[in-house]
Symmetry: C2
Subunit: 260 residues, 2 copies
């Protein structure tokens, strides 16, 4: 019997009311968008400012309790890097034992959608938002799990190809946040332009304005060795992954030309 | 006499306290990062939720009063597209005549920085944040200015190559927000990996772990015509721009290999 696809609960704050046909609450969809985003935007209310604070951070969803969990399972989000003392102090605040409420967003642009009229222009994109409560990870095994998860998200199996485990000073200076996810949602736009009927029936207009999609994707160029690199050639685990990822990124942008 | 470079004021909420050498408050730097980002993340406090709301939106900085202003001048930010009625209603709230406080973030990833240890891994990136107050644009000329600004940000001179001006129904159904910018900041990481001295002096380690940067950039692929396109070939204004942009994006990722 195929397993039911898990979804996040639909809360008033997590549900867009426009283009709702583009929305999704499927865990797998949301987690995949987050995990393939090299940089996440992490927003939280700053008690001393009228403006929410937003920090660019690195993060990954995963499960310390069940490391073999897949993307469609219930997961936590681990955040690391560029952790200002501000967010860490807020996450440690005993007044909010559940943790600091965070909104995490991730977006990929897949294409420029060029229509007959400016108003019908759009982007093909995949965007995800997670809402959750962040606390500082204090358990050493969980911290190591998260550090490896995040390092291997930069390049798969990078962790085992570096100097590990982190020493005491590194463990001390690094903070990892665990976000217990309350809910989340995704918005995806794919396919070709849509115009209003009046414009679509205007043959002169259709013969004058080019319409379609310019596919967009990310490319990783040839690795450039640093000043103290002592390895003769780019290792195969890195090079093979890079070439494969580039192919997949291009294929995905083309796949998003189709309406889902 | 060369003009002084304008900077945004440094406020407690707009200043990172870590890696502050990577920070900038220069208007030109910040506006450029925002204007070259196809999608912005727009955060605001939601009175009915513990979590900030975050929406992916399209936007551009510009000046309706002085359209010839350059990126280093004082500008407004115009936001358009994916405007939920929630944000519009909040921006119209008479209880906040200055407008709805928004935090707008934009990030570009320029490279994967691979170091000897997981902790020293990083990204080359350019990230900008703007803080400001949003109101709904009601003046028709200003709304048209913003619509053209944003359309031409997708593809330069796209506006004049489409069916314009927007008709009454389009003007009615489209909302544009003007954000009066209070302040902003940028964070930029460029250059090669840095490791701790102990690791840098470990010849065995340096001979075993490849270190350097994998440059990352965005590519626009061959435009794909839509189902009702009636133009024989991709127009030159689009194709020439696409090829040039791809070259510049690649060159910028390589340029970011150097420490700034």
């Amino acid at each position: 019997m195929p397993r039911q696809e898990l979804e996040y609960p639909s809360e008033p704050f997590s549900t867009g009311n426009r283009y709702s046909g583009r929305g999704s609450h499927a865990l797998e969809t949301i987690h995949r968008i987050v995990n393939t985003s090299p940089l996440l935007h992490v927003a939280f209310n700053d008690p001393n400012s009228p403006f929410p604070a937003v920090l660019p951070m690195i993060g990954q969803t995963g499960s310390f309790e069940r490391p073999s969990a897949d993307l469609g399972d219930v997961l936590e989000l681990y955040l690391h890097g560029y952790v200002s003392s501000r967010i860490i102090n807020l996450a440690r605040n005993p007044a909010t034992p559940k943790g600091l409420p965070l909104t995490i967003s991730a977006s990929h642009v897949d294409g420029l959608v060029l229509a007959l009229t400016p108003n019908s222009h759009s982007l093909n994109y995949r965007s995800a938002i997670l809402f959750g409560h962040a606390t500082v990870v204090t358990s050493v095994p969980e911290k190591l799990y998260a550090m490896q998860l995040i390092t291997d998200a930069i390049v798969p199996s990078r962790w085992e190809h570096t100097r590990v485990p982190p020493n005491a000073a590194e463990m001390q200076s690094t903070s990892v946040l665990r976000v217990t996810i309350a809910t989340g949602s995704a918005k995806i736009r794919s396919g070709m332009p849509h115009d209003e009927r009046g414009d679509m029936e205007d043959e002169e207009l259709k013969g004058r304005v080019w319409t379609g999609v310019v596919p967009v994707h990310t490319v990783m160029g040839e690795p450039v060795a640093g000043p103290y690199n002592g390895v003769g050639s780019v290792p195969e685990y890195l090079e093979r992954w890079r070439v494969e990822e580039n192919k997949e990124a291009e294929a995905l942008a083309m796949e998003q030309l189709k309406e889902k």
